[in-house]
Every structure is written in structure tokens, then in C-alpha cells.
């Protein structure tokens, strides 16, 4: 196996084996501790531009089946993949590709043979570590270079129908995972997806024809989604139900006058423990974010719906009128638990019944 190097912005270098292509790109080091669903994470648009590192050591065990796997976008947008152990042999599915072959086809560079646990221990949220792969150990990352997480370059304006004469739901796409759209479509609705950069005036004529708006997840700092925030400020004064997921939750809160802050410890796992403050029931949730809504910045009209049991951070908000709601976690899982998939479907069913 060909040697490859993982180089970090703090100067650390690790030797591993080459997988995937040699299309080397720098990217913020993001890790994930989930043990299942590598394909869901690799194709999750929220990881756009990031170097994704799995702590679970054995990745690619069942290969990649483009028809069957639950891909979250058509093409992966990660800049590199960092793993401990990849397998030449995978699953019993003869249709599947190896993970290595898939990465090559998608022109994404990867490295295996890395102690990903050691890497997690190195990571920090502020400033984030930048990782880059190289075939040469002498390569260095230019520290002065700034790596702003790019705001989504996902362009979508597409319709998904589940039937004629059904209500329409507008999904504002900031890098939306397919799982969210699939979840909305579980209800008897049609979905139209639009790019988050469309401003209020571009969509206002059609706004009334939607029964509800869902704001998706996406990468980066929520404050950089200014066009969307402005649009939401206006929408909040109308009576269209709005539901925010992950980044969508953060921008909705910003539009409602709350603040967001960088978490001391990012949430990037399948086992973020949360509590529903209405029922006191507890759940594990799939999460992937480093920003959160500041607790003391919430206006009186809003209530904390879900809370993180570890750090007490806000995991969900609901407006007193009950038609604006948002959650910080991923109800759709993909990958990860779907214990709270009902928060979206209940919301859509409620909204379409109005």
C-alpha cells in the first residue's frame, strides 16, 4: 500500500496509507464518533470543505452501494477522509464498490492507518485544526491562510412530489441532507426546495402557496447566512409555520433576535443526550455542529423545548404561538438515531391540517 501523510496546521504529521484519489485539499478537521453510517456522513453536505475523521476504526465494512445506500447528497462535499482501517473485503453485496474505489470515482483523497483516537484528543473547536493530506512528508500548511468554512454552494430549486393536490412544503436548502426531505415526504405533502440565497422579494409572491417552511442544516457560522436571516425576520411576522433543523434552528433563532455562540465542545456524534422539557423524556440524538443558540439571549416569546443533558445547551426551541419550532439535532438521523423523527412529521401534519 502506498504511503500517505496527514499534515495538521499545528505542525503534527502522521504517516498512513493512501486511499481514494490524490486530490489533496485543506479542510477543517471534523470528527465523528458514530459507529455506523459512514456513507451518510461522507455525503452529508454539512461537512462541506471539511476533512472528515471517523473515530470508529473499521470503515467501509459493507462497501458502497449507490442504489441502496442512504446517501444524503448525490456527491460528497468533504475535502478529505481520515480513517484508521479500511477493508479490501466488504459485505456480501456483489453490486457494491469498495470505499476506496468510491472515493477514487468521486476524486476525493483519503488516508487510512491513522490513530483517529489520538487525532480526536488533539482537536479543538477554536481555532479549528486544519488538515491536509499529502504524498510528501515535507509539505506544510500555510498557517497564515484563513480557512473560512464556505457557505453552501449547493444549488437546488427542485420539486419532490408525493401526489397531486397535496399541500406544498418549502424547504430552504442550506446544504440539506436528503434524510430531512425524505422525512417531510413521509407526510402527505409535496416538497419544493430552494437555495437559501434567494431573498424575500424573490419568493414572497409564492410564499402563500406553502403550508410550511423547513430550514435545513448546513455548514459554517449561522451569522454568515444574512440573506436567509433577513428573509426569516419578515416571515416570522406572517403566520406561515416554520421549522428549523440544525443550522436552520440557529438562523431562525438569530432572525428572532437571539444570539449564537461557539460551543466549548462541538457536538459531532450519534449519542448526544437530550431531554424534552415538556415530557422529561430523554433521547440520544445525531448531531453535527459547533455553534449553538446562546441560552440567555432568548426572548420571552420563545421557550426551550429540548436541552442537552451534558452541557445544558439549547437543543430545541418553540414559539409560544406553537407554529415556529426548531431543533439543533438531526431528527432524521441519517446517520444516527431517529428517536425524534416525529418532531418534523408532527409539525408538518399539524401545519397542513390548519
Amino acid at each position: 500500500m502506498q504511503d500517505r501523510w496527514l499534515i495538521l496546521s499545528d505542525g503534527t504529521k502522521f504517516k498512513g496509507h493512501a486511499i481514494g484519489s490524490d486530490n489533496f485539499k485543506s479542510g477543517e478537521l471534523a470528527f465523528h464518533t458514530g459507529m455506523s453510517g459512514y456513507m451518510e456522513s461522507i455525503t452529508d453536505p454539512s461537512y462541506k470543505g471539511q476533512s472528515l475523521c471517523f473515530t470508529y476504526p473499521s470503515i467501509g465494512n459493507y462497501g458502497v452501494d449507490l442504489k441502496y445506500d442512504n446517501l444524503q447528497s448525490k456527491t460528497p462535499s468533504i475535502s478529505a477522509l481520515i480513517i484508521c482501517d479500511s477493508s479490501d473485503y466488504y459485505g456480501d453485496n456483489s453490486e457494491a464498490l469498495s470505499l476506496d474505489q468510491y472515493l477514487k470515482n468521486q476524486n476525493i483523497a483519503g488516508i487510512s492507518g491513522i490513530d483517529t483516537r489520538a487525532l480526536v484528543k488533539l482537536q479543538s473547536n477554536d481555532p479549528p485544526l486544519i488538515a491536509r493530506l499529502s504524498d510528501s512528508s515535507s509539505f506544510n500548511i500555510n498557517k497564515s491562510q484563513r480557512f473560512e468554512s464556505p457557505v453552501s454552494g449547493v444549488h437546488r430549486f427542485s420539486k419532490s412530489r408525493s401526489g397531486k393536490d397535496l399541500p406544498w412544503i418549502l424547504v430552504i436548502d442550506c446544504g440539506c441532507k436528503q434524510g430531512i426531505i425524505d422525512l417531510v415526504l413521509l407526510c402527505d405533502v409535496n416538497v419544493i426546495t430552494i437555495d437559501h440565497r434567494l431573498n424575500y422579494h424573490e419568493i414572497k409572491d409564492r410564499l402563500e402557496s406553502y403550508q410550511a417552511i423547513v430550514i435545513s442544516n448546513g455548514p459554517g457560522n449561522p451569522k454568515s447566512y444574512s440573506v436567509l436571516i433577513d428573509m426569516l425576520k419578515i416571515s416570522l411576522n406572517q403566520q406561515i409555520p416554520i421549522f428549523g433543523v440544525c443550522l436552520g434552528h440557529q438562523v431562525l433563532a438569530l432572525a428572532a433576535g437571539a444570539e449564537t455562540e461557539l460551543l466549548e465542545h462541538a457536538h459531532r456524534s450519534h449519542n448526544q443526550p437530550i431531554i424534552d422539557l415538556k415530557t422529561n423524556r430523554c433521547y440520544n440524538s445525531s448531531q453535527n455542529h459547533s455553534y449553538a443558540v446562546s441560552k440567555d439571549s432568548i426572548s420571552k416569546d420563545w421557550k426551550v423545548w429540548f436541552e442537552n443533558l451534558n452541557d445544558g445547551s439549547i437543543e430545541g426551541l418553540s414559539h409560544k404561538n406553537n407554529i415556529f419550532k426548531s431543533v439543533q439535532f438531526h431528527p432524521e438521523g441519517c446517520s444516527g438515531p431517529q428517536d425524534l423523527a416525529g418532531v418534523i412529521t408532527d409539525f408538518i401534519n399539524e401545519a397542513t391540517r390548519l
Binding site: 459485505g91 450519534h270 451534558n310 446517520s335 444516527g336
Partner: protein, 1001 residues
């Protein structure tokens, strides 16, 4: 504060091992943390839960409804905990419930309601529940008799799978491929099972298991998912299991997790439970197989694999706490709701006693046969698997190439790969997933690379170590010594990294002390302990016959004592089924191989003050020489003395030199040509073995030649002293003084392995004069061998002669029994001596308590084994009973392993009238059944007797006493398989019947 009764699981048997001491102890700990008064019912004397200083009150009695009833009234019990003592506790609770005992005394059952547990255990009700939830359950029908079978057109195709409606460990299970096979199977098992279930045989399906916690507020979490490497058809207890699941994608994983939660909610389960699923690998469609609404072997494995104290949290949920209120025990800032996430792979491999009983691999299937298990941890599957294979110590003798399920199939697969069989071919035959096979192939390819290489350089060593290869293997391939390879790799700084199990994959900082080694890592997760301030204790590894819970108990006591004397404790063990591998039992737990390589690695890193090897059964003494050579400071008696005691020839020379008598002996190699000159019977005694593998009594030269044929040649042949009384003498010594000792007398005579004997202490048939003679001889041995700390001597007494048979310079299996009986901390004293610490002098107390220790056999599970007692140990566990009366202690002890306390009808097989006469059956008002010519003797004695030819389908008596020299193996086995107790030792039969008679009076 409430008084809460915890039901234990009784003696260790196949299907119920030390995992229930783990779960029971965590439960007691949880109850005590919440301020309750705890009463324990468990006759297992080697369990930690039955320690006097742990629970508030301990009843060493049979887990039965009558005892439960008595305890409830005596102790004023408010609540009972039934899910922490295996199927034994659950069955007992269901019985109490059916008899209305809980209702009558207003005792609350904590956790899941009994009604719902009964539903989960009943196939028909459970299947209906699964279907109500819109999940699939396999097709099945229930038959109660053979007419049912003939009447019912089986609603599915062959092959079918048959099992008993309510059973543990897959008893009466099997695959039937045609109607004749099905008919015969049903005929056999319907003789003693009320009903049988016939269902689809899910050939080649993947088998996975999910461990779930649920609280009263309906919060559910999934602690661990586990996948069997072996597809459906092999009992989970006999399967190689990997945690977490490996070949299942997230979509399916979430579906299974959701299904498990849905079932938990429907059954309103509270606490811990697990769900088993079968998955069609072609479609990913799954069926729900069963749930266990209690702590189980799998939950113990999951607990160890994840570093999550499942039983401790479960007991709190049973008390009414919610998950959201509880904290992760490794990091108090984290919530207990967090599902553990692993950054390593765990492989569990079962341990069978195939070698002991059959000298070769045994077929495995739906009925569990393994005795123990090991768990190996690595940062790659190859690393974990190779460790596991060494831990379980699979012997490569008589390896067969059969790829159908057998106890050493893994080795056969590896061997086929070496011969060139492809992964696809192996998949066709075994249905094992390509991923697992591919990983096994990588191990073979690594072997081949080593074999091909001419030079051993750092690069090759590192690569081999990353895939889990041992120094010893590399050494053999390059014709070097293990220590050569060790110094080569240390020169190149190739050393294992100490990795932590923290349940959060390094995402949060935790203070975990739960550790393993990996070569797939850059750095240590922990810093070394302060040099010379810690003690490394070697554990006893997987359960096997002769090494069970008793050594865990010894280790746990040692760990406590180490702390008491101001040292940190480091524990090395690899058994997931025991309390001793809970991370809160030691300051550092290394879940690793019990090998020279690992001990040296740990010593290099931690620099302990010394190593204790004497609590690990035979494991430590077998390593003693190597440790001595490697310069390791072993605490206790010097290695030279250990070597004398471990080698029978050297030991006899020693006995001879100090003037102690011993049975006459001959070296086989010198004797070979003159076998006719030997006086028979003789006993073969190989060196360095625990529990008498290959040990046997031979009555003629032919028998001797045959026995040696499949044993070791370098063994000693002893004169066999017939009808001698055997004695176990356990003691602790320092400075040539014995500071504590206990004497146990065996009820069975010499020739029956001490582990299979019924023991009584203090002795009932030896006078005080002889007892002081025993002490004198023991002192002579202590002096001449310079024994330091704990030791055990086995004596034989024949008329006035006292022989020494063996001396073990380690803790013996009787230690928990005598420690509890005499309230003497043998282990603590021994540890104090090892650590050169002062200890309190023992008060000279004479107690009137008599203790009887009774072995538990699992012959029902061990297919085709001879149930007659012999010099080869076969019992799997033990119980004890203490009383002021020998008879009461004997009957209570025997009842706790299944013997009746009242005899109505007994079957007798005996060879002669004298034997029958000595039994004293006439004193008991009991009817006697005969199946052979024993009837003649009985009618001569005018005993009330009926004759029943032995071809009836179902034996209708309480006990079989079989004292025939012909052994009657087939008949005994038939009776045993129906669950009827058997006594086949004359002395035990006499004592038992006499005691029964006395108790009646």
C-alpha cells in the same frame, strides 16, 4: 430505607456463570448507594454477592419459592429484585408469583412486572405482540404431544428448528431436516418438556443482539449492538460475537434499534433487556427472535465491551430513577443517557471443554455447550481476533477440515485459507459475511508475509504487531526466542500503546482506568502509575472446568487487600463474565492476554512493586518459571519451590527427603516394558494441570497403555490407594509458621477429583489426633519448601497412614468456602505477607458451624459425557450450606444443586446385596423402583419395590442411585437429560440417605 431481597443464580452451570455475580453485585451496590437494606439469596459460596460484608444479610440457600417465602417473613422484605440472577432467579420469581407469595406478603417486584416478563417468555404471547407492532416473527407452531405433530400439517418447509417452549441456553433445541428427524427429536424431548416449538430454520441469516435500557418515563437507550460472526443456528453463547455490529448499515441498524425500543415500550420493560434479531442478508429484512427481560450473559458482555455499568444503572431504573437523572460513571459531567460509542472492536470467543472430554473439536449448534468465554479488544479486527484466539488457547491438535459448525471451526477456516480456499468458496459453505472472512484472510496473509521474509526488521515486526501477532509466533518463525524478538522490537521502540475504554471515543476527557493494548496507536491514553507503588495481580482468564468463580473471588479479595495496605492495584484478566473485570474493582484494569508478553509490557510501563500470581488458579504457576527468568519480582513463595510442587517427580523426591509418605510411584517411561509387574489399580497423574486433565485410575496394564496413548508420556504412575479418605488442607504461612488453616474432608473416596467431591469442614470422620498429625506434616512442608503466603495440601488417609498427594503453592478452589465458613480472611493474610505488612493475629475461636460444599454438574448440557465421577474433574460450579448440624448442611447443600429434600420414589441400581444393605433405605419411607436385577437384592431385603422395565418414555421418580460397576452410562444419561438427579457414588449415597433420615426425625 426499604428491605430489598435480591435473588441470585445459584451454582455456576452451563448457561449461568459468573455474569450473574457481576450483575447481582452491581445491583447490591446500587441498592446500597440508594440507602436500602439488602438481603441476598444465593447458595453460591464462591460468589462475591454472598460475602458477609457486602449485602446486609446473606442466605446461602437454594433459590426456591419456599426459601423466598421464609425470608420475606423473617426479614420483613418490602421489595424483590428478580432480574439480576439469570433464569434461575426469574423462574423462582414466576413460581412465587403463581403461588401468590408476593401478593400475600405485599412484596413489590421492582422493575418490569411479572405478568409482562411471563409474556416475554411465552412464545405464543410474544409472537402476537411482535405482530401487533407490525414486525415479523418467524413462523412457528407449538406441539404438546406426538399426536399434535401428526395432526398438524407443519406450516412451513424443512429444515425446521425445534426448541422447548421455556428454556435456558437452548435446551432441547435442534435443526431437523426431514420428518423422520423431526419425529425422533420430538419423541425424545416431549418425554420431559411440556411443549415444543417448531419454527422456520433461518439458515444463513445474520444474528444480532441489541442491549437496551428503559426507564419508567419511557426513555429508551441502546447500550450496545452485537453481531455474531457465526450465522443463525449456533446458540449465541457458543457463537463468536463482535461488538459493535460490523456488517450492518445505518439504515438497518436504526430499524433494529427502533424495533427494540418499540418492543420495550409495548412490554413496559423497566431496567435492562436484550432483543435478538435474525436478518436475511439478501434483503436486509429482519425477524424478531426473542427478548430476555433480565440481565443476561450478553448484557455482561455488552457492559464490558462498552465500559457502561449496565446492571448498576438498571437497578436504579428499577428503583424508579430516570435515565436523565443519572450520570455516566466515567465522567460525572456526562449524562447516563449517552449511548456508549466505541473506538475499538471487541471479539468474544467461547471456551469449550472439547479437549478435556473428547480430545477433539465437538459439533456445536442450538444448545449451548461452552463453559466460559474470553473477550479481546483491538483497534482492528485482526488485532482483536488474534488476541482472542490466544486467550482462549485453542489447541491445534486433531484439527479437522470440516467447515460446518464445530468448536474449532475458526481454526479450520484459517487452515483452509492457508491451503488456498477463496473467500467466496468459504462464504458459500459457511455463510459467514465476506468482511469477516476478508479480515481472517488478512491474518493468513500476514502469516505468509512473515514466512516469506528472510530478515526480521522493525518494519515487519511493526506490521505483524499491528495485526495482533505475538512475539512468540514471530520468534518461532525466525527460530529465535520470545525474548530475542522482544528486545528487537524494543530496540526499534515498537511497544504497545495503552488505550482507554471511555464510552465516548475520546470526545470527552474521562478518568477511565479501563485499559487495553494496541499497536494501532500513537500515544498512551494514561500516564504510568508511580513506580514501586502498585501491585500487578494476574487473573484466571475464562471460566473452564476447574477454574471458575472461586478464583475471581480470590482476585477480588486480593485487590481489596492491596488497597488496604496502601498500594495501587493493577489487574490483568480477559474474562467478560465476571465481576473482577469491572473497572471499579481495581485501580487499573488491563483487559488483555494472560501471557508473559503482556505481563512484561505492563511491568515495563507501570513499574509495579511486584506481581501476584497465586490467585489465578493454575495460570500464574504455569508462568512462574518464565517470569523468574525475565527478572520479574513475583511476590510469595519462591519459584524454585513452585517448580518442585508442580513437577510430580521432583515433589516425590522432596517428600521422600523430608520423610513424608506418599503413594508409591513409577515413571511411565522407565516402566513401559514391565507394565505387568505393577500392582493395579494405579492412577496416572500428569504434571502442571488443574482439574485433572488426563488423570485416571487404571485397573490393568491394557487400560494403562490405552490411557497413556492419549495422554502425556512424561507422567507419573501412582499406586492407587483404594477407599482412602481425601483431605484438603488450606493454609497461610509466614516465617515457617502456619498462621491460619482449614481442613476439609471429602465425602467421596480418593479417586474422585477433589473438585467433584462433596466437602465437609470441620472433618466428621477424622479424630483430633489425626488432625494434629496433618498440621504437623503441613508444617514440615511449609518449612522445607519455605512457603510464603497461601497454599493447599491434599492428603490421603488410609487406616493410620497419612499420605501427601500434592501441594499447590497458590489459592485453591476451597478458599471462598473456608473463608466464609471460618470467617477468616485467608486472602487478606496472604496479601499482607506478600506485601510484608503487619497483620492482626487471629483470635482462637471455636465455632460450631459445619459447612458442606457440594459440586454442581452440567451433564445435561454436556452431550455424551460419562456422568460417573472419576479423577477427571467435570463439575462446573459449587454451592455451600452452613449449619450447626452436618445432616442439615448436607441436605441443604445438595438441595441447592437439585437433589430432593424429600424422597417419595427412588430408582436403585446396585451390584450386590451388601451395598444395598449399607444404604439403609429401609429407614426411609420411600418406594423403590428397579429397572434391572437389583430387584432381586431388594426383594431379599423385603423392601417395598416395583419393577419397571427401562424402556418407558418418562422415568417417574425423584432420584436415581446408580452404584453399579458397569457404570450404566447410557441409562444415567437418559435420566440426567430428563433433569432427574443422579447419585453414583456409594459414600455420598449413604451419607445423603442417612442425613435425610435424620432430618425427618
Amino acid at each position: 430505607m426499604k428491605t430489598i431481597l435480591v435473588l441470585g443464580s445459584g451454582a455456576i452451570k452451563i448457561g449461568e456463570a459468573g455474569e450473574f455475580d457481576y450483575s447481582g453485585c452491581q445491583a447490591i451496590k446500587g441498592l446500597k448507594e440508594c440507602g436500602h437494606r439488602v438481603v441476598v439469596l444465593n447458595p453460591n459460596v464462591a460468589s462475591t454477592q454472598s460475602n458477609g460484608d457486602f449485602a446486609d444479610v446473606v442466605y446461602l440457600k437454594k433459590v426456591s419459592h419456599s426459601e423466598v417465602k421464609a425470608i420475606i417473613t423473617k426479614e420483613n422484605v418490602c421489595s424483590v429484585l428478580i432480574g439480576f440472577g439469570g433464569q434461575t432467579a426469574l423462574n423462582c420469581a414466576i413460581e412465587c408469583h403463581n403461588l401468590g407469595i408476593f401478593e400475600k406478603y405485599n412484596v413489590q417486584v421492582l422493575g418490569t412486572s411479572i405478568e409482562n416478563i411471563i409474556c416475554s417468555e411465552n412464545r405464543a404471547e410474544f409472537a402476537q405482540l411482535v405482530r401487533q407492532l407490525s414486525y415479523e416473527h418467524s413462523n412457528y407452531c407449538i406441539i404438546e404431544n406426538l399426536i399434535d405433530l401428526e395432526d398438524k400439517s407443519i406450516p412451513f418447509n424443512f429444515p425446521v428448528f425445534v426448541r422447548s417452549n421455556q428454556s435456558l441456553g437452548g435446551l432441547a433445541s435442534g435443526v431437523c431436516r426431514d420428518y423422520t428427524c423431526l419425529y425422533n427429536h420430538c419423541k425424545k424431548y416431549l418425554s420431559f418438556c411440556d411443549s415444543l416449538i417448531i419454527e422456520d430454520y433461518l439458515d444463513g441469516f445474520k444474528e444480532v443482539e441489541y442491549e437496551i435500557l428503559r426507564d419508567r418515563n419511557d426513555s429508551c437507550i441502546c447500550i450496545c449492538s452485537m453481531e455474531n460472526l457465526d450465522p443463525m443456528g449456533i446458540h449465541t453463547g457458543d457463537s463468536i460475537v463482535v461488538a459493535p455490529t460490523q456488517t450492518i448499515n445505518d439504515t438497518l441498524h436504526q430499524k433494529l434499534r427502533n424495533a427494540a425500543f418499540a418492543i420495550a415500550r409495548k412490554l413496559e420493560l423497566i431496567g435492562e433487556f436484550n432483543v435478538q434479531f435474525a436478518i436475511d442478508p439478501k434483503t436486509d429484512k429482519f425477524k424478531v427472535i426473542e427478548v430476555n427481560a433480565r440481565l443476561s450473559r450478553s448484557s455482561a458482555l455488552a457492559s464490558k465491551a462498552c465500559g457502561y455499568p449496565i446492571a448498576l444503572i438498571a437497578v436504579k431504573l428499577c428503583l424508579g430513577y430516570t435515565l436523565g437523572e443519572l450520570k455516566n460513571s466515567l465522567n460525572s459531567k456526562l449524562s447516563a443517557v449517552m449511548e456508549p460509542t466505541l473506538d475499538y472492536i471487541c471479539v468474544k470467543i467461547p471456551k469449550w471443554e472439547d479437549q478435556r472430554f473428547f480430545g477433539q473439536a465437538i459439533p456445536i449448534g442450538a444448545e449451548m455447550q461452552s463453559i466460559g468465554e474470553v473477550m479481546a479488544i483491538g483497534r482492528s479486527f485482526e488485532e482483536a481476533m488474534q488476541k482472542g484466539l490466544r486467550m482462549v488457547g485453542f489447541s491445534v491438535d486433531n484439527l479437522n477440515n470440516n467447515l460446518y459448525p464445530h468448536s474449532r471451526r475458526l481454526l479450520s477456516i484459517l487452515s483452509s485459507m492457508r491451503k488456498g480456499l477463496s473467500i467466496n468458496q468459504l462464504h458459500e459453505i459457511t455463510n459467514i459475511n465476506h468482511w469477516f472472512l476478508g479480515k481472517l484472510k488478512n491474518i493468513v496473509m500476514q502469516e505468509e508475509e512473515i514466512a516469506r521474509s528472510i530478515n526480521l526488521d522493525g518494519k515487519l515486526i511493526l506490521k505483524a504487531k499491528k495485526s495482533g501477532t505475538s512475539d512468540l509466533y514471530v520468534a518461532k518463525m525466525f527460530d529465535l526466542s520470545e525474548m530475542d524478538v522482544r528486545s528487537l522490537r524494543k530496540r526499534d521502540t515498537i511497544t504497545p500503546k495503552v488505550k482507554m475504554i471511555d464510552s465516548v471515543s475520546g470526545e470527552y476527557r474521562t478518568k477511565s482506568n479501563y485499559l487495553y493494548h494496541s499497536y494501532n496507536g500513537y500515544d498512551h491514553d494514561v500516564e504510568a502509575l508511580a513506580p514501586n507503588k502498585a501491585i500487578l495481580l494476574i487473573g484466571s482468564g475464562s471460566y473452564q472446568i476447574g477454574s471458575s468463580l472461586e478464583f475471581d473471588w480470590c482476585c477480588l479479595q486480593t485487590l481489596q487487600s492491596i488497597n488496604k495496605y496502601g498500594f495501587k492495584s493493577i489487574f490483568l484478566n480477559n474474562n467478560p463474565e465476571t465481576l473482577s473485570t469491572d473497572y471499579d474493582q481495581s485501580d487499573r484494569l488491563y483487559f488483555e492476554e494472560l501471557s508473559l508478553e503482556k505481563i512484561l509490557d505492563i511491568v515495563d510501563f507501570e513499574n509495579p512493586f511486584g506481581v501476584i500470581i497465586s490467585m489465578s488458579g493454575q495460570v500464574g504457576n504455569n508462568l512462574s518459571n518464565q517470569l523468574q527468568k525475565a527478572g520479574i519480582k513475583v511476590l510469595g513463595t519462591d519459584n524454585s519451590s513452585i517448580q518442585i510442587c508442580e513437577n510430580r517427580a521432583l515433589f516425590e523426591t522432596h517428600l521422600h527427603s523430608v520423610g513424608i509418605i506418599h503413594p508409591k510411584s513409577f515413571e511411565y517411561t522407565k516402566l513401559q516394558d514391565n507394565l505387568n509387574l505393577v500392582e493395579y489399580p494405579v492412577i496416572i497423574r500428569p504434571s502442571k494441570v488443574l482439574s485433572g486433565i488426563n488423570m485416571r485410575v487404571c485397573n490393568s496394564s491394557e487400560e494403562l497403555t490405552n490411557s497413556i496413548g492419549h495422554g502425556q508420556k512424561d507422567c507419573l504412575i501412582n499406586e492407587f490407594i483404594d477407599n482412602a479418605i481425601e483431605i484438603d488442607f488450606d493454609g497461610v504461612s509466614v516465617d515457617n509458621n502456619i498462621i491460619a488453616f482449614a481442613i476439609c474432608e471429602h465425602i467421596e473416596r480418593a479417586g474422585v477429583h477433589s473438585g467433584d467431591s462433596t466437602l465437609v469442614s470441620p472433618p466428621q470422620n477424622i479424630n483430633l489426633e489425626t488432625q494434629s498429625e496433618l498440621l504437623k506434616i503441613a508444617k514440615l512442608l511449609v518449612y522445607s519448601l519455605q512457603i510464603k503466603g497461601i497454599f493447599n495440601i491434599q492428603f490421603m488417609i488410609k487406616s493410620s497412614d497419612i499420605f501427601v498427594i500434592e501441594c499447590n503453592l497458590r489459592a485453591s478452589r476451597t478458599i471462598p468456602f473456608i473463608s466464609k465458613l471460618k470467617s477468616i480472611d485467608f486472602i487478606g493474610l496472604s496479601t499482607a505477607i506478600y506485601l510484608e505488612q503487619p497483620f492482626e493475629d487471629l483470635k482462637d475461636e471455636t465455632s460450631n458451624t459445619i459447612g458442606v460444599k457440594v459440586p454442581q454438574f452440567s451433564f445435561q448440557r454436556m452431550k455424551n459425557t460419562d456422568p460417573n465421577l472419576s479423577a477427571i474433574m467435570r463439575s462446573t460450579g459449587e454451592v455451600a450450606a452452613f449449619s450447626h448440624s452436618y445432616s442439615i448442611a448436607l441436605i441443604e447443600g445438595m438441595s441447592a444443586v437439585g437433589y430432593p429434600t424429600h424422597l417419595n420414589k427412588v430408582c436403585l441400581i446396585a451390584d450386590g446385596i451388601e451395598i444395598v444393605n449399607k444404604l439403609g433405605l429401609e429407614k426411609l419411607n420411600v418406594s423403590i423402583v428397579c429397572v434391572d436385577n437389583t430387584i432381586d437384592y431388594l426383594s431379599d431385603l423385603e423392601l417395598l419395590t416395583t419393577y419397571e422395565p427401562n424402556d418407558s418414555l418418562k422415568e417417574g421418580y425423584d432420584l436415581l442411585i446408580c452404584l453399579s460397576n458397569e457404570h450404566k452410562i447410557d441409562y444415567q444419561r437418559r435420566v440426567i437429560e430428563q433433569g432427574i438427579p443422579v447419585i453414583n457414588d456409594f459414600h455420598l449415597a449413604c451419607q445423603y440417605l442417612q442425613a435425610l433420615g435424620e432430618i425427618k426425625l
